[in-house]
């Protein structure tokens, strides 16, 4: 127990925790959207994220930027980051759609038992991970240094780097945008209707298949955005990166109440913060343990997560 370390590093731990939490939250949204509509744990979502990390790195490589090249000017850097976000989001979104069409839709058409979906998810996850492993020769791929690493601004003891600032602001924009989309638009109404009662929604003229596909694409877009920032934060990626991050993000989704969008966002940020404080307190080798301890203790007292599960039920 190292309280001195926690107190001394508190501002820094909070910023890095928020950034990590924002990445968890963006991935968790994909789990929670699919769960809210289909009551299905989409285990292949971690690979959707993983492919997004490569999508971003390939985009940068197309501009001649790799881990050895020098930092470009700030304007150019922001431009390539924006392009990478678009490319990674599109790639992840289409992979998520591919998974839904090939691995889940045929089973739904046959009214298969829920556990069969779990196996096709595992199968899709294996296939995607191994495919990328072969394409990248199972090596770690570095991402270029795009933004300067010095402090952008600091208030009191709190200093923020450009990457952290960018991650947090884009994540907030994406989350607010998604919340608006689900709660305020016509498409969002369809999603909530299917989440509430799929068959009744279909009888009312909602195209169930299209709504489900839309949900997968939305989750994929979020994972793609998270992937870009994960690249910039850790500086590299690997074909099996999705596993642990996916697991944490899924825990975050359950923490907030799976099927609940705001819950996933809160759960992700909370998990990032608690992990950081905990690893300062107990030592960084226990970082991964803390996530699961928090999850289990919380589920003992609130069996449906912090905010409870509701995509359709609230504000229907």
């Amino acid at each position: 127990m190292d309280f001195a370390e926690l107190v001394r590093g508190f501002p820094e731990l909070t910023t890095t925790g928020l950034v990590q939490g924002a990445i968890y939250a963006l991935i968790a949204l994909g789990y929670t959207l699919v769960y809210g509509v289909l009551r299905l744990i989409n285990f292949a979502h971690s690979e959707v994220f993983m492919i997004g990390t490569f999508g971003a790195i390939w985009t940068w490589a197309a501009f001649g930027l790799n881990s050895n090249s020098g930092a470009p000017s700030v304007g150019r850097a922001l431009l390539v980051i924006a392009l990478a976000i678009v490319a990674a989001a599109l790639l992840s979104g289409s992979v998520a759609l591919l998974i839904e069409v090939t691995a889940y839709r045929p089973l739904r058409r046959r009214n298969a038992p829920p556990l069969a979906f779990l196996i096709t998810a595992i199968g899709a996850s294996y296939a995607l991970m191994e495919l990328m492993g072969t394409l990248t020769r199972r090596r770690q791929v570095g991402s270029p240094a795009l933004l300067p690493t010095d402090t952008l601004f600091s208030i009191g003891g709190w200093s923020v780097t450009p990457v952290q600032m960018l991650t947090l602001s884009v994540a907030i924009v994406m989350m607010v945008g998604l919340d608006w989309f689900v709660n305020r638009t016509r498409f969002g109404k369809g999603i909530r209707a299917v989440a509430q009662d799929a068959n009744t929604a279909a009888l009312m003229g909602v195209n169930k298949s299209r709504v489900i596909a839309l949900v997968f694409v939305l989750g994929g877009l979020m994972a793609g955005v998270a992937a870009v920032f994960s690249d910039m934060k850790s500086g590299n990626t690997r074909y099996n990166i999705g596993f642990l991050l996916g697991l944490k993000a899924f825990s975050a989704a359950v923490l907030g109440g799976i099927g609940n969008l705001r819950g996933a966002a809160i759960g992700g940020v909370l998990l990032g913060l608690v992990e950081n404080y905990g690893s300062a307190l107990f030592g960084s080798q226990w970082r991964d343990l803390i996530a699961f301890v928090v999850l289990i203790v919380l589920l003992m007292f609130r069996p449906t997560g912090l905010l409870g599960e509701s995509l359709g039920r609230a504000r229907a």
């Binding site: 096709t120 595992i122 199968g123 899709a124 072969t134 697991l247 343990l289 289990i296 069996p303």
Partner: protein, 396 residues
Amino acid sequence: MTALRERWHSASSAIGRRVDGLPKSARITGLLAFVAFLYVLPNKWFYEYLNIPGLWIPLYTTRNDMAAVLFYCAWIVLLSLGLNVVVGYAGLLDLGFFGFFAVGAYTVALLTSPESKLITEYNWLESPWPWLVTIPIAIALALLSGVLIGAPTLRLRGDYLAIVTLGFAEMIRIIAKNQDWILNGDRGIPQVAHPPGKYPDGTAIFQFEFKPYYWLLLTVIIGAVFLIRNLANSRVGRAWVAIREDEDAAELMGVPTFRFKLWAFAIGAAVGGLSGTLWAGQANFVNSSTFSLENSILVLAAVLLGGAGSIGGAILGGFLVIYIPEWLRSVGDVFGLPETATVFGNDFDVSPTSLRYFIFGILLIIVMIFRPQGLWPNRRRAAELQDRQKEVAVVE
């Protein structure tokens, strides 16, 4: 496509009916012959003649010792038999099965290794115990940990149970990886005892060769199959099926659901622990890397691929999830497939050896699309699913 599927269904059910129609003596003879075949299987002189006639595709593995592959198959088969009780009979989704495996393996390692800290640092033991004595202790501890983890968590349902069991198994793994007081962290515990037994000429039977371990495991599996089968046909088994089909209705009918769920969980854990003891005896070394979540997921895939709730399905699934990837390693040699492909001037390793889990993943999807109930489902469960299929999906 549909016609083809229906033909296949009618053909397979016709075979099933014919097997059922055989007199009991014939069925038992057939079963015994199959068991004998399994015992002979790891011998090279035997399996090298097992080819698909006409095609000459060896069913044995050319890149890896067949006895080793069979040992790993048997290992996963035993685990999937244990998990089948939890997932298949009682319908509890357990994603952390390897946690109990870890309990069994570490118990054996701590008690039998001369390097164990119980001996070298804490002096709790005078000398390492023999392997055989530690087995009941390991099974009892695994059972106990099943009860301890199950008691608070089994009140959760469905997916929440899955994530909590997953969390517990990961916690066991991370603790085993990081702590240094007893389990030696990542360095692990070496020199775990082998099972006892000597050939007439005085050399030990159980050393590093896989064949005797495969035979031992096969014998244990046969015992486990009898136990689980009898359990499933008893009052306990009927209670499990009732819980799986409708937990609330079972509770209303007077089935003490929580107690039976806990039983299923604990029995599964005990089988997992037993598998851990056998594995530790072969590997001679235990550290946390075997207990990864990937392995728990593989066992779950085995149970569901074979068909949840059926013993034959669990055995078939457990065999296939190890055997298919291992066999794919050797397919390239047989057909002379290229090892690398050049795309835009870059060489990629496209040999079936490196793509084997890619192919395996695709196979999992295809099998589940065409047989969502599993390859060899339990008849009652298959009927439950048939009912589901008849329910009309409104729009798709």
